[in-house]
């Protein structure tokens, strides 16, 4: 008898079959991987399990008994706990208040702070998860916030732990420590479902893994009997080829395309940063680092929307430090922003409008009238060239999938042959096919002599694409590695601010 059994689960949303006849066994004491591309139905399935949605058909059995999970309270009562991909924490409350939220020790109508603190301390000692119960959650780094989320589940006596892409925001060392915690919890009698799309995590952590594709189970594998490429094949439905990287041209033939000298940002409450770096033509310079260590400040300074910038930024040898954003773009600076939905695109507008957002003013004719027909025709051409899948160019960008939306951004940025491309998390949230397309485009630009600055929290991506990797910590570049010399461990240490004597600077 399995600890958890899902039988024939089916869930439809208007126009979408999110889960189709899903059956799944999770044995007591295992860490069960759940993998699949975005949109494969992983999150929907977990929402059903946690009572946030109701299945249209099928049943859920815990310890052989059929259970109805109408809401999260039911799930909690049944011992099911979930760490959401986006943390469900209240920033202005303390660690202890967050852990106990909704199930607080009371003293009449009052919160019993004394008992609350004792309970949280006991819990954190019992499971070896150190936290300061009185710290405000808003002051904690991401890794610790996740620890609070895990304690939140344990506080409610969860026996089945669901973790939705928990490693996405962590450094490699934090991921290792998370794995250690999960192994300890499982050894202590818990069972876990681990959702991810990183295959090496499945191989390292899980005993078995179930692969979803387009809402269906396409296989459950024992990790000892399989390989990452086998799982990838199941996820995508066909063989997956890794992007092929040729050697970068020798240093002597390269010219610096983007130079950042002693860049400091001192505006308002922002972290002061001090950054020096050079991106050569024909190379991809990867910037590793935990989010919030100066990436955003660097990008804002490069594209010219930050206040209080000192130092110098050179584009192809010419200073653009005091030049407005529009001029920077005209001189060949392109940007793939971190959040395509809010920073990269205007959701309410059509594809063709978004495609012309960068240079519409150059097309204006007498009296500022825009040649709409011409702009639409140009957009239609880009749809073809960049393989954007939409009925036509008048479709609203808000209705596109993540991959297609990102292609719109890329088409707009690349159509004017930039000399430097700043790409921030360009493949985040994309399925393997679309991510591959984006990576190909980056490599194509590199081949064409463009300087690419790739800022990413995904170390695998950085290691796969970058010619050199620089690590940003606390607003500074603390280490730089040529690709051949870069290892996950070294980069991870630098991301955590640990300096090493053998840094190659």
């Amino acid at each position: 008898m399995s600890f958890l059994e899902l039988r024939g689960i089916r869930k439809t949303y208007p126009g979408v079959l999110a889960n189709d006849d899903i059956s799944l066994h999770v044995e007591a004491g295992e860490i069960h991987g759940l993998v699949g591309e975005n949109g494969a139905g992983k999150s929907t399935l977990m929402k059903l399990l946690y009572g946030m949605e109701q299945p249209d058909a099928g049943e859920i059995r815990l310890n052989g008994k059929r259970v109805m999970i109408a809401n999260p309270q039911d799930a909690i009562r049944l011992g099911i706990g979930m760490v959401h991909q986006h943390f469900q924490l209240v920033p202005s409350l303390t660690v202890a208040e967050n852990i106990a939220l909704g199930a607080e020790p009371r003293y009449g109508p009052f919160l019993n702070r004394f008992r609350l603190r004792r309970q949280v301390q006991a819990l954190s000692e019992q499971f070896g998860l150190q936290v300061d119960p009185n710290a405000l959650v808003s002051d904690l780094p991401v890794g610790l916030q996740q620890r609070v989320e895990i304690l939140k589940m344990l506080y409610r006596n969860a026996r089945l732990l669901i973790l939705d892409e928990p490693s996405a925001v962590l450094t490699p060392q934090e991921v290792e420590s998370l794995f250690g915690v999960l192994r300890r919890l499982v050894a202590g009698g818990c069972t876990a479902i681990f959702i991810t799309h990183k295959l090496y995590e499945i191989m390292a952590l899980c005993t078995r893994a179930t692969v979803l594709r387009r809402g269906r189970v396409v296989g459950t594998v024992q990790t000892v009997d399989t390989t990452p490429s086998e799982i990838a094949r199941l996820m995508v439905g066909h063989e997956v080829e890794a992007p092929v990287i040729t050697e970068a041209p020798a240093d002597g033939r390269r010219r610096p395309r983007l130079e950042v000298r002693n860049l400091q940002i001192t505006s308002g409450s922002r972290r002061a940063t001090q950054i020096d770096l050079t991106v050569f033509g024909g190379e991809i310079l990867g910037i590793a680092g935990v989010e919030g260590n100066g990436q955003q400040e660097l990008v804002e300074a490069l594209i010219g929307v930050a206040d209080g910038v000192s130092g110098e930024v050179l584009l192809d040898g010419e200073s653009i430090t005091r030049v407005p954003t529009r001029t920077r773009r005209e001189r060949g600076l392109a940007l793939i922003p971190e959040d395509r939905q809010t920073e990269g695109l205007s959701k309410a507008m059509a594809i063709w409008e978004n495609l012309s957002a960068g240079d519409y003013y150059q097309q204006a004719q007498g009296l500022g009238v825009l040649p709409l027909g011409q702009m639409r025709a140009m957009a239609a051409g880009l749809l073809n060239r960049f393989d954007i899948r939409a009925t036509d160019e008048r479709v609203g960008v808000g209705t596109l999938s993540g991959g297609n939306a990102q292609k719109v951004v890329i088409a707009r940025e690349l159509m004017r042959d930039p000399s430097v491309l700043v790409a921030v998390q360009p493949t985040r949230g994309l399925d393997i096919g679309a991510a591959g397309f984006v990576q190909e485009q980056l490599l194509r630009l590199r081949g064409a002599g463009v300087g690419v600055l790739l800022i990413s929290a995904d170390l695998d991506e950085l290691l796969a694409l970058s010619d050199r990797i620089a690590v940003l910590f606390n607003g500074r570049i603390v280490a730089q590695f040529p690709r051949a010399a870069a290892t996950r461990e070294q980069i991870g240490l630098a991301m955590a601010g640990k300096t090493m004597s053998e840094n190659i600077l």
Binding site: M52, N71, P72, Q73, I76, M82, H84, F87, Q88, L89, V90, P91, S92, L93, E97, L101, G102, A103, E104, R106, P109, F110, L111, K152, G268, S269
Partner: protein
Amino acid sequence: MDSLDLIVNIAAATLRLGTPLILAAMAGLLSLQVGQVNIGLEGLMLAGAFTVVAVGFATQSVLVGLLAAIVVGMLLAAVFTLVVTRLKANLIIAGLALNLLVSGGTAYLLSVLFGTSGTFSPPDLESLPSLYIPGLSDLPVLGRLLFSFSPLVYMSWLAVPLVAIFLYRTVPGLHIRAIGQNEEAARSVGIPVRARQYLALMLGGALCGLAGAHLAVGDLALFREDMTAGRGFIALAAVYFAAGRPGFSALACLLFGLFEAVQFRLQLASSTPPQFFQMLPYLMVVVTLALISARKEWRKGWS
């Protein structure tokens, strides 16, 4: 002695005029903390003012009128909650609608029920009795400053620590703050989000009912159309510039009360049209708000 007299008079007027603001500000604070900022405070107050006069007149008891004002405030707040939560209406529009509804509704009822318009001052309705403690109330300065008001003034002083304790020391208060910051998180741990939203906003409704009642029967006993005159918005401004902290919100309200008290004095002492002075307190609010945010920016620049 004259100038002392003047200062005491203005101080006492400040406390009286600050009362409805403080009560409404506590209501605004609750709505802000639960994440459903209620710009309909104005309407809720006006409904309270009308109810206390109408019901007080009908029952010949200002106390019954007061209770009715509280109930009406809570009912209207409940409707507001329903509209902005379950029916997912826009907060701004729902709040404005509430204000317009009450403004028009009270004028209409005034004419239908009492056959009058503008001001309704029932001859045999008395204002709330002022506190009189033999000995204490007769003290030369303190007596007039601390022991000479209608009970609602003291209630407003009490409301501030009570709201603070409720929000920061009790479990429902903790839930309300959690909902305001991250509703999804609150839902995911099984907090009854809807019930807490009703709680916070209906408590606010009761406080607004009291605030309106003070305007109508605190000193005089009359209802005038739109007699709240923007006080609901001033209260909300006070909450914002105190960054949601109860004590500072109340102080901000008293500051506006002071502007109003001084304005009345100036009106009496000058031949300039009174409308000019009536404008001053509102102008001061704008200036104060601008100064405060300018100071924030200035500080940021130096940190």
